[in-house]
Symmetry: C2
Subunit: 141 residues, 2 copies
DNA sequence: CGAGATTGCTTGATCGACTCAAGTAACCGT
DNA sequence: ACGGTTACTTGAGTCGATCAAGCAATCTCG
């Protein structure tokens, strides 16, 4: 599915453009993940643990239940893409880190997720600045 | 989860802004759906059938298996949000239509999905035009 | 016309993602 | 040191998604 969607009849022109952009982004993101044998959930987690993080922090950042994270991390661990290390300062907690092969895989994934890069490349320097400013302003502010 | 994500370390400024925008959009969309007791999949389908569509067309538009659509439409039908009508021109095919209460619910959902509207409202008319143009250009040409 | 392929959808099996409730171990406060 | 809280795990259950099979309607072409 992976389609935020809004029927073809989407309101104004900007709104339509926003929808199309978001949809294209989402699609490209999912496709890139799949290319590397990652589900979107796995890619999310793998992305976050570029720097060491606890399970709880991951759950919070990804806005889901801790038990969901457990499950995903376990699968990533059996694929040896991440490791769960004990936290010497709090033995309840576990620190998740990418393994070197996790780094490689995620690197390859990012590489093939060229949508944002190529979107940026379609714009001049000035336009990029403008777009950044407009997006930020649109998002409330 | 619902986080396309890219680690905090996301490349350039525009790319970061794009990510944040997409993420905010996705989140708002999902939240609006949930507010009305809709999963994202249900909201997708319900949105599409504003105008009559066959199962196959839905599957194609939403890029998923036909059996997935069957399942979702069945659930929507038991909630009386859509109806499956026979297609007199091809008795294998079924036309999906929203019921009046489906219309109401989807209307309420769209109403509460104010992200794109308010994003647009944060911009001047000229800025909206600019943003539309930039997004389209970024998306390839 | 009619047998064989194709199309449109449904069913059933299976898996992953997600949530919730319950459990366990470690920590913290008094 | 006991009670409550925190960090995570486990188990049950649901939904979303895909695949393989099946069935009926339609199409095709000899």
């Amino acid at each position: 599915m992976a389609v935020p969607s809004v029927p073809a009849s989407a309101a104004t022109d900007v709104e339509q453009a926003m929808f199309e952009f978001v949809d294209a982004y989402n699609q490209a993101w999912e496709a890139a993940a799949n290319e590397h044998g990652l589900s979107t959930a796995h890619a999310c987690v793998l992305g976050r643990v570029e720097t060491r993080r606890s399970m709880g922090k991951l759950a919070e950042e990804l806005r889901c239940d801790a038990s969901n994270i457990t499950q995903i991390v376990v699968r990533l661990e059996t694929r040896e893409l991440v490791r769960r290390e004990p936290n010497p300062e709090d033995r309840r907690s576990r620190q998740i880190v990418r393994t070197p092969s996790g780094d490689d895989l995620y690197g390859a994934f990012e590489e093939s997720f060229e949508f944002p890069r190529s979107a940026a490349a379609n714009l001049t320097v000035a336009e990029r600045k403008q777009l950044t400013a407009l997006l930020r302003k649109a998002m409330r502010g």
